[in-house]
């Protein structure tokens, strides 16, 4: 577990301070409740003033999030939360900006803004609630739904190939890429804290169960009986192991990841050691994406895939302005209005 930040401004906030007076309107049993709770739990630990936090969302079930969080917030339009947040962060770099989006909002209608936000590396936290379905419009397949998905708009099964959101984020040169799930509060809190701590765009995919339109989509990774065999928790500097007794491991055979069994003669020393700063390894592990039904599939990784440092857009924007002002002095309006050539009429 990553270290917890402690409040530094003297004001002690609790999770309760972040609850609003609005009645929560998610369906009973929705995975969003857990995510809301984990966010409210970690917010008081960030050492931020409540008024310096802003949550921006788009449209979809997850995008109701700002109404339930006592900070500044905007429930914007479909797919554009990332763009609204970019403008806000550019204008006000000192604010802590959080984006709440979903697989439809952030990867379909707003896919373009998501990739551009990541390449620009604004210091913001993108929480992408992935439930592999359109919930608010009552059950159409989404860009992350698996092939053959039978949904309202695909009665004979979907013929769309899904996005792999982690690989997409890496492809867009995101500086922090992680995955967690609604049903593992400790892991989710940890990932939220890591997202916040990262200076740059943090892309956190959160598997979220839609119990109405896509129930059990992630059950292999969340249910006790299968979680240990199907979910691979990446820990920095540690070998990749999973299984009921951590008896299974991942070994790199050249560039090919293979599953080995430590109880059947494989050595722990030969295992892949997770290094979240290694782009090549991040690209390989992001492709552990086969459906659980696929014979010989690899486990689905959770945790931080990749983290690197690159200057943020808003820092460079502010620096460029400061440099110009240092070089030329503050702009004088009268001089600007006069331009380079004037003449006088008597």
């Amino acid at each position: 577990m990553a270290e917890t930040l402690t409040a530094t401004n003297g004001e002690v906030l609790t999770a309760k301070d972040f609850a609003t007076d609005q009645e929560i309107r998610w369906c009973p049993g929705c995975g969003d409740y857990s995510i809301l709770k984990q966010v409210h739990t970690i917010l008081p630990q960030l050492g931020l003033k409540q008024e310096d936090i802003v949550f921006i969302s788009g449209i979809g079930c997850s995008s109701r999030f700002p109404y339930y969080t006592e900070t500044f917030g905007m429930h914007s339009i479909h797919g554009r939360a990332t763009a609204v947040a970019s403008g806000l962060k550019a204008a006000r770099p000192e604010l802590s900006v959080w984006i709440v989006t979903g697989d439809g909002d952030g990867l379909s209608i707003g896919g373009n803004h998501t990739i551009h936000l990541l390449r620009r590396n604004f210091d913001m936290n993108i929480l992408l609630f992935n439930n592999e379905i359109y919930g608010l419009t009552k059950g159409q397949y989404s860009p992350t739904s698996p092939e053959n998905k039978v949904a309202k708009s695909t009665p004979f099964g979907s013929i769309d190939h899904p996005f792999n959101p982690i690989a997409l984020a890496l492809g867009a040169d995101a500086t922090f890429v992680a995955r967690s799930m609604d049903r593992d509060p400790a892991h989710l809190q940890n990932m939220l804290l890591r997202s916040y701590k990262h200076h740059g765009s943090s892309f956190l995919e959160i598997y979220q169960n839609c119990n109405i339109f896509n129930d059990m989509a992630f059950e292999s990774y969340t249910e006790k009986s299968t979680k240990k065999d199907e979910a691979l928790f990446m820990v920095q500097g540690q070998p990749l192991v999973f299984g009921a007794n951590n008896e299974k491991g991942i070994k790199l055979d050249g560039f090919k990841p293979v599953i080995v069994n430590l109880e059947e003669g494989a050595s722990k020393n030969d295992l892949w050691i997770h290094d979240e700063h290694d782009m090549v390894k991040a690209n390989i592990i992001s492709r552990f994406f086969d459906h659980v039904d696929v014979e010989g599939h690899l486990p689905r990784p959770f945790g931080v895939f990749y983290q690197t440092t690159r200057p943020t857009y808003e820092d460079m924007m502010s620096q460029q302005i400061a440099q110009v002002i240092t070089a030329k002095g503050e702009g004088k309006l009268d001089k600007l209005l006069a331009g380079s050539e004037t003449w006088v009429i008597e």
Binding site: F72, A83, E94, Q320, D334, G339
Partner: protein
């Protein structure tokens, strides 16, 4: 000097420089313009470029033009048709032959009329040799050859030498109009100071062009256009997009709000982005977004954060921003949306002008979504118009659309620019922090019906806004049937109340009552004013009024309309303002429309008005 040369005095003259995109006609035109401005002429200019950056050389598609109208009297437009047409090749003549006066002067570069150039322009016979130009005075000169000859001993490649040929033409015109060349010599020295060979070449060709006029005895007439009588003051030349950018910086300074521009490149609006990107010493933040939608929504984010937030675009981009305009309307936050109109629909005529986005600005959104609209009427007026749009937006907490157009955006005129101290303050106040236990009401309202601008970072003002229908005062989501109707009417009333905070409509020229009112808006100002003034001088009982505020209209507009027997509304579209006026004031306003991607000519407006009053 040829002894038989006489000097003819002209009150005004229109010159058009036309050539291939690579011939440097824009530069030649702007140099002559600066010369005329520094001399003290009043003037108006309009560049006319192809949509293609580098269309095939020598073709009609690749012709680039620059028109200048200057005079010793007041000038309101770049001129209908030209007195002098400079053509560097056959294609330039072909595409401009309609735009020259009978008896006008055509200065033709003969090397642009060889077999190859004639073929590229699809001309079957050489107009310079046959008698098709019998109605004009044609001055033929082999600019290419004379340029090369002037540079025989200069160490430059042929291509670079040929690039100087626009200077020959410029020098010749300076001779023809009896001008000093100091400004161009200074310009070239500044531009090519570090390349002495290139500088020397340009200067030599410029002077060669001048001497050619002086020493060749075939030219017997030179022209003189005296200084204009203009209000005393300090002037500069300004293009519309430049003025828009300056107006935004000025509004930022005088409101104390940092300026944020979210924009996506689009013709003919991109120059506003280019200019603002230079003004970093004013703290201006420009964000070249990934698309038009991100451009406006990033501006919405910046506005939420307390910036003077702006997005700039043209018609097709405006279409993409539509949903976000609705969001800004429901959020009730300031936002200035600038549409530099061009010919549509779809990609339409990117480099040509039109006024066909008025309906889009009025009605082009889902739901009941009224947005105030301001229009600019001339290149320099873009400054005043955008300043006013900013003022309304931040003081009334509302998005405002500013309409300019390609014609005034790229046109230039002298501008007696204001001093910072002469500009009216734009007073705004952010919501103040709340004491413990007090509840902030984000949709509480003042007498303008505007709500508080509560920016993140202010203690106790944490609140959530969004595109779902709001309850008044609390800003909570509300699906109540009565509330929705109430909020729709309230947002409409909020727009209407702006009429209490804008000046009354004035008559620009002509009597306060009479036979005919010519009502215009936007970039047609110069042509309408020139036409009405001239007809007033001829004794016609007509007036001209031009709208700055398109929504809401000034409160006295209805009264003004009723003071005339007839109302004529000329527009560069298929009739848009005319329909809005008919609808709102139940008057039988007449439309007069031109939809050719071109501005009105004074002459066609005068003909139309005469016909109506017959």
């Amino acid at each position: 000097m040829a002894e038989q040369t006489t000097i003819t005095e002209l009150e005004e003259a229109v010159i058009k420089f036309a050539g291939d995109s690579g011939d440097g006609m824009q530069l030649t035109g702007t140099q002559f313009t600066t010369n005329a401005a520094l001399f003290g002429n009043d003037l108006g200019t309009f560049p006319d470029f192809p949509a293609e950056i580098r269309a095939p050389i020598g073709t009609v598609a690749g012709v680039s033009g620059f028109q200048l109208h200057f005079g010793s009297k007041e000038i309101f437009t770049p001129g209908d048709i030209c007195d002098v047409l400079v053509v560097m090749n056959s294609a330039a003549l072909k595409s401009n032959i309609r735009n020259i006066k009978k008896g006008g002067i055509i200065i033709a570069n003969t090397s642009g009329f060889d077999a190859k150039n004639l073929k590229l322009a699809n001309m079957t016979s050489n107009a310079l040799e046959d008698d098709s130009l019998g109605n004009y005075q044609v001055i033929k000169m082999d600019v290419t050859r004379m340029t090369r000859e002037a540079l025989t001993d200069i160490q430059l490649g042929m291509k670079e030498k040929d690039r100087c040929k626009n200077m020959f033409v410029l020098g010749f015109l300076y001779w023809m109009f009896n001008r000093e060349m100091d400004n161009t010599i200074k310009f070239l020295t500044d531009k090519f100071g570090k390349k002495p060979e290139v500088l020397e070449a340009n200067l030599r060709v410029l002077k060669a062009g001048y001497s050619y006029g002086d020493t060749t005895e075939t030219f017997t007439t030179r022209y003189k256009v005296e200084k204009a009588v203009m209000p005393a003051g300090t002037y500069r030349s300004i293009m519309g997009n430049q003025a828009t950018a300056l107006g935004l910086v000025a509004a930022s300074k005088k409101s104390g709000l940092p300026l944020f521009l979210g924009s996506y490149p689009i013709t003919p609006a991109s120059d506003i982005l280019h200019d603002l990107a230079k003004y970093k010493s004013f703290g201006v933040k420009t964000f070249q977004a990934e698309d038009e939608i991100a451009a406006i929504t990033s501006a919405i984010g910046a506005s939420f954060g307390g910036s003077l937030a702006v997005t700039t675009t043209s018609g097709p981009g405006m279409a993409l921003k539509t949903e976000a305009l609705g969001l800004a309307t429901v959020l009730e936050i300031p936002l200035v949306i600038i549409n530099v109109q061009r010919g549509g629909p779809s990609t339409g005529l990117p480099t040509k002008t039109e006024q066909a986005d008025l309906f889009q600005a009025y009605y082009g959104r889902n739901g009941e979504c009224p947005i105030p609209i301001v229009a600019a009427q001339s290149p320099s007026d873009c400054f005043n118009a955008v300043y006013e749009a900013c003022r309304i937006s931040v003081q009334h907490m509302i998005p405002v659309i500013l309409l300019t157009d390609g014609y005034i955006a790229n046109g230039a005129e002298p501008w007696r620019f204001p001093k910072e101290s002469e500009l009216e303050e734009i007073k705004i106040e952010f919501a103040k922090p709340m004491a413990e236990g007090e509840k902030f009401m984000p949709y509480a309202r003042d007498e303008k019906l505007s709500r508080p601008w509560a920016i993140p970072g202010t203690k106790g003002l944490e609140h959530r806004i969004g595109g779902l229908e709001k309850q008044n005062i609390t800003g909570n989501i509300s699906y109540e049937p009565e509330n929705h109707e109430f909020m729709v009417k309230l947002r409409e009333e909020k727009v209407e109340r702006i009429a209490n905070y804008i000046p009354e409509q004035k008559i620009d020229s002509g009597p306060a009552k009479g036979k005919l009112l010519v009502l215009g808006w936007g970039g047609t100002y110069g042509a309408l004013k020139a036409a009405v003034r001239e007809l007033n001088e001829e004794g016609f009982d007509i007036a001209h009024a031009h709208l700055r505020h398109m929504r809401p209209f000034p409160k006295n507009l209805g009264e003004i309309l009723n003071n005339y027997d007839k109302v004529l509304i000329p527009e560069i579209n298929n009739g848009q303002l005319v329909k809005i006026i008919r609808d709102k004031y139940f008057i039988d306003a007449m439309a007069y429309n031109k939809i050719q991607g071109l501005p009105f000519f004074k002459s066609e407006l005068m003909d139309k008005i005469r016909e109506i009053l017959k």
